[in-house]
């Protein structure tokens, strides 16, 4: 990290503090005790610990948080949110950072948002997840074979993966639901 220009980071700190407050997360109440990090099962795979992510935001270094590996390694286990003595919802904070990093195209571990996108396409199309297609599309899009190549056949041998897509019989309600969410987002 290069030198920090205080006049540049202060507005960023203010912007994120307010944005998060609107979502019910008050980062100013975090006193950096580190309890969130102590209980985080994924901390060893992160570049910044959960506590450090909160600190980056307090300091106006949101860009570093958005470009971190941390937000994509977070398993959404809710341990941090359960144990924080200051009631900072770190798990939800991770969600909001993922959404913003994805929107601005700065995801450090692109495979994860690609997975989410592929998953949601399946839900939009069928109303439910079509696992076989999800796996195949994800493999193609990430241009690397599924990390666990033998999983598909293993699942199939137990009759757990289907060749046919699921049918929600929702009368197109889910497709319309997705459309309305898109309309509200303005794209």
């Amino acid at each position: 990290m290069a030198g920090i220009e205080l006049s540049a980071v202060q507005p960023v700190a203010k912007e994120w503090t307010e944005k998060l407050q609107a979502a019910g997360i008050d980062i100013t109440s975090c006193y950096q005790c580190g309890k969130c990090t102590a209980g985080c099962p994924m901390a060893q795979s992160m570049d910044y610990s959960p506590r450090q992510i909160v600190r980056l935001l307090q300091l106006g270094l949101a860009d570093d948080a958005l470009r971190s590996r941390t937000i994509w390694m977070c398993a959404s286990c809710e341990t941090c949110a359960t144990r924080c003595p200051r009631d900072v919802d770190v798990a939800k904070l991770m969600d909001l950072l993922r959404i913003e990093a994805n929107r601005t195209g700065v995801a450090a571990v692109p495979e994860v948002p690609i997975f989410h996108k592929t998953f949601l396409e399946s839900v939009e199309r069928y109303g439910r997840v079509y696992e076989m297609e999800l796996m195949m599309k994800f493999n193609m899009r990430t241009r690397k074979l599924f990390n666990n190549v033998d999983l598909g056949p293993k699942m199939m041998s137990k009759g757990k993966l289907h060749f046919m897509p699921p049918k929600a019989d929702d009368g197109g309600a889910v497709k319309k639901l997705f459309e309305r969410v898109r309309e509200r987002r303005g794209n």
Binding site: A75, E78, T79, T82, H116, V123, L151, H162, G171, A173
Partner: protein, 292 residues
Amino acid sequence: MRIAYYPGCSLDTTGVEFRLSTAFCANQLGLDLWEVPGWNCCGASSAHSTDQLLSLALPARNLAIAEKEGLDMAVPCAACYSRFKTVEAEVRQDEKVQQDVAQVIDMDYRATNNTRSLLEVFVEQVGLDKIEAAVKKPLSGLKVACYYGCYLVRPPKLGHFDRAEDPESMDHLIVKLGGTPVEWPHKTECCGAGMITLSPEDGLPLTYEILRAAQLCGADCLATACPMCLMNLDLHQESVNKKYKADFNLPVFYFTELMALTFGAEPKEIGLDKHFVNSLPLLAGIGKKETA
């Protein structure tokens, strides 16, 4: 007792044995599960990592259908359950959220009904006494590590039915089924969730620690309420053994499978043969004490 029922995507695919055993238990206990017609996927972590409104609207559509019917909702999958509880809480707290969600799903939804995990429905609504009375083949001698995982109990602000740290409802259930729950420290540790598949080197250590703790504490098997946890602990047990040069051979059950077995179900009819770690040798030994 009648309750709306949301199986969720996993129960038609990777968790089909959860569906089969749930149906068996409900039938034995006179629980009338009304499957939500035209139910849709809850969006899982993909939705809440992508768009907040979408992550609320997807579960809400299912809940709205149950609400219209005047029914509470029973959800077997712990991960879906957590999404449902989140929506329920947000809609109750915030009028703007309630309106936004109703507009997007094009249905009225005011969260006047309650989401309940299937474990809660059995333990608290059907009741442990009724369950005990239905047991024909107790799990005598079986030592079970009750694994709750993340979503049945966290975060506590959602108002779950059991404690966030050291929950015990499943342990009480196992006692009534004639088994012995083991004391162990990993009841609510995370299994690694989707990381096991997306990035095994980051996820497998978590699965390993859970299996190791269960074995060290003397468990013969694990019981869970989450298809994702089950897949990680069962399907990936082989990868864990390979990576850590370990020799775990710990069957992992849905709690409903253990219930169904004690009620007299045949292993095959509830899909026990669909697990990757073979549980049949272990099961062959249970209930022997009573008959011998």
